[in-house]
Symmetry: C2
Subunit: 303 residues, 2 copies
């Protein structure tokens, strides 16, 4: 199955059990709105690409990991968009969750997505409704991988938390707020496939840094209509943006260097050529999509 289809199908399967006669229907709609239609799904795609390169011996665990990481990403967008944070009325070209459903359901939808992320990992350890020991061991490891990418100090909540401090350590902030989920996607893809996750950490970090640079570029030179969210937010909110410091061309050069470093950092695996090709294709998309609007050749690859 095409990875994009596999991800959408797995996401739909993950949220299906939430709907029941005992479920508050508007909250279910808010959760659905937070996930569908998605953005680029780049994190779950990275996860499945690494799992495939590692042989993908346990597809249910790979899919669960990809889903868990995308759900955490969606949760972070829903909460980041709240009035008390970015106060963003638009996301992916549609009203943000709080704009469409109100703040209470946006808070709850984010909470639900975080909890569901961990439940999905546990669910993937079941064989015939019972936890299978080997899968359970991997599910525990995957919970640690995803947990690290969510919480303080290394994860996305840690990064977000720095925004309430008077002095933000730029490297720590970016690694936690953006890099952590990419790192988890790579490490988790390998762990799900039964390989050593730690060996994939640098690879995931470099891809995450490249993606962050592309996002910085987009914030200074993107077209809000094309990318489905406002631009110039970093400057307005006083957040570090590399493209402001290095300029568009310097940033794109650094982006290519990071992709090269990612490929160099790839551990040996069953299907290294396919993964290298995938990374080069991603790099190409990031470079194209981050050109100024007048030179845009392809649909933007937004979050």
């Amino acid at each position: 199955m095409d990875p994009a289809d596999r991800i959408e199908r797995a996401l739909r399967a993950a949220v299906a059990p939430l709907s029941s006669p005992d479920s508050p229907p508007t909250l279910i709609a808010a959760v659905q709105h937070a996930i569908f239609p998605g953005g680029s799904r780049v994190r779950p795609r990275l996860c499945l690409a690494v799992a495939s390169a590692c042989g993908d011996a346990a597809p249910a665990l790979s899919e669960a990991t990809a889903v868990a990481i995308e759900l955490i990403h969606c949760a972070s967008l829903v909460h980041d968009d709240l009035p008390c944070f970015d106060d963003a009325p638009v996301r992916r070209g549609l009203p943000s969750v709080h704009a469409a459903f109100g703040q209470p359901l946006a808070v709850l939808a984010g909470d639900q997505l975080i909890a569901l992320s961990f439940e999905v990992l546990a669910q993937a350890a079941l064989v015939d409704a019972l936890p299978a020991p080997q899968h359970a061991v991997r599910a525990v490891r995957l919970t640690q991988v995803v947990g690290r990418a969510v919480g303080v100090p290394h994860g996305i909540i840690g990064g977000q938390g720095w925004e309430s401090e008077s002095c933000i350590p730029a490297a720590v902030y970016r690694r936690a707020k953006t890099g952590a989920l990419f790192e988890a996607a790579a490490v988790g893809g390998a762990v799900a496939a039964g390989q050593d996750g730690g060996a994939w950490r640098t690879f995931g970090q470099r891809i995450g840094e490249a993606y962050q640079l592309a996002d910085d570029l987009l914030d200074v030179s993107g077209d809000p209509e094309e990318i489905g969210k406002p631009v110039g937010r970093d400057e307005a909110l006083g957040r570090p943006n590399v493209a402001v410091q290095l300029g568009v061309h310097g940033t794109r050069r650094l982006l290519r260097e990071l992709v090269h470093e990612a490929i160099e950092a790839m551990p040996s695996c069953y299907h290294a050529d396919e993964l290298r090709a995938w990374v080069r294709e991603l790099s190409e998309k990031l470079s194209i999509a981050r050109r100024p609007p007048s030179r845009l050749h392809a649909g933007a690859d937004t979050a």
Copy 2:
């Protein structure tokens, strides 16, 4: 070790890894403020009481379950207190998290507590830093138990979500918003100890219903100074309150019946007498603490 000490020690051990030079310090302070000093810790105490009655063969898993359930409870209080929900300035006699640290850190602290809850369960499956198969299987089951108590449709988020609907099904709402964590405490305590969790579901439900009644009583007849939070909230917020319908005496009679039903529903276990005594003691505390202020004989047993 005294169960109360065991719970506080386990909670402190669970949050200790959050603190590091890379952690945003005010968020860490907000997370600590959400957990310490605690309320009655009735849910983790119920969890440890059931685990002890079942032999408590894996104390690390019992403690992790107790901690996970209390962290979810704390998360729900932090988010429930937000201005977009109850707008409560005071909790446990101190400023609520958003009153003390602002809304952004209150949202993030709640998110962190949810994620940490699941991480703690995974952590408890480790023996010498590696997941042990038998413990990993139980950690997966416990993740399902806790996940059910958190998410839609059966858990606390589901209950909270009903507050955004025009028509609230009272029984579903209360079972999800209050009952689910008590049920999880009982079921999880048994699972952590290697016993059949499902057999403990009714016991946990009845204890949860009794506690909810006591809370309803408190809301109509408590002293805000004594209980550390405002009263009359249910009426102000248009929420179902049994004590309004049945009166104080009728509600206390029903409370005693529920405790009796809980004891009747206890499955056979190693230390049934101790657990029955614990339930009776809890029942006594609930009845005393929920008397009108002029007749209060003991410190209130608030959330």
